[in-house]
Amino acid sequence: MQFLNGITLLLVYQLVGEVTVRLAGVPIPGPVLGMVMLFITLWIRGQAPESVEQASSALLAHLSLLFVPAGVGMMAHFDRIADEWIPITFALLLSTVITMVVTALVMQLTTRWLVKPVAATEEQGHE
């Protein structure tokens, strides 16, 4: 029952998100608005209910499975991908590598510069 309540709640937030986005003409996708609204709800309540936690960890534990049908969609785009495989392959690979390297370095450097004292005490506290 817990799981069912949790999944229902997630769907309700997604539904409200989708409807709001369409009514208000906001340029963000419905599930993202649903996520923001759920986050605000959890924040106001000061805790995540067991049911939502269960449903959320069940969905997120097998997150890669959910991408499989979209990946199989490659077969519907074989022609297009074959036509433009050079820009697709190189832009995708290089851009992903650049994004990961730059983001990791920026995060590491800004953490060192901006929050070093706090982070250090926090880590000591944990150990």
Binding site: P31, S56, F67, G71, G73, T96, M100, V102, A119
Partner: protein, 245 residues
Amino acid sequence: MNEPGLRDIWVYLSTSPLLGLTITLVAYGLAYRFYLRTDSNPLANPVVTSVAMLIGLLMLTGTSYSDYFEGGQFVHFLLGPATVALAVPLYQQFSRLRQLWLPVTISLFCGVVIAAGSSIGLARLLGGSPEIQMSLAPKSATAPVAMGISEKIGGLPSLTAVLVVATGITGAVLGTKLFEWIRVRDDAAKGIAMGVAAHGIGTARAFQVSSQMGAFSGLAMALSAFATALLVPWLVDLIEYLLPV
């Protein structure tokens, strides 16, 4: 006498969602087991193996993608509630996030802008059509978000979904090696980079490295879904303005 019977069964199966849904789960189950057998070698990423198995099977049996998707859509649909579900890890990591809010905000902004900007720029440089450029732009965001943005900026949502998966796989396969090379060892930095660049598939990989890295990756994926939705349409306009074709 056997022939028509078998054909009837095939006619039933090929038009019912049952088969598509079942083979998706079976293929993923096998792929995941294989992945564990290889000691979670990133090259044996279960998404790669299961997609390859499914495409092979569909082509062998002459089944179209739209027939397969009758069943596959049930799994695909769950990406929406899974995006909403990201609010939970986000909330649970909120105290760490608050402490690191400034580095996280800066890295996230850089990551999202670079992910979209570099893919449009590189695709344009290599002679990709405008449709390809726009389909690539939101590739680092999780699938439902990326598809929504792709539609808004003039890409092909279904092609974007494929590119999103390919991006996630690239990140999951290369991520840990890349971080070793550039000597980034902090789980927060690795997780943020993984989540920004490679969304859910990267996050699944991050959780195998450490739960801390996974949490940060999930957090980055949630925040970058939001940031990508806000920034990318605006970034596309800016690029069009600065570098008209």
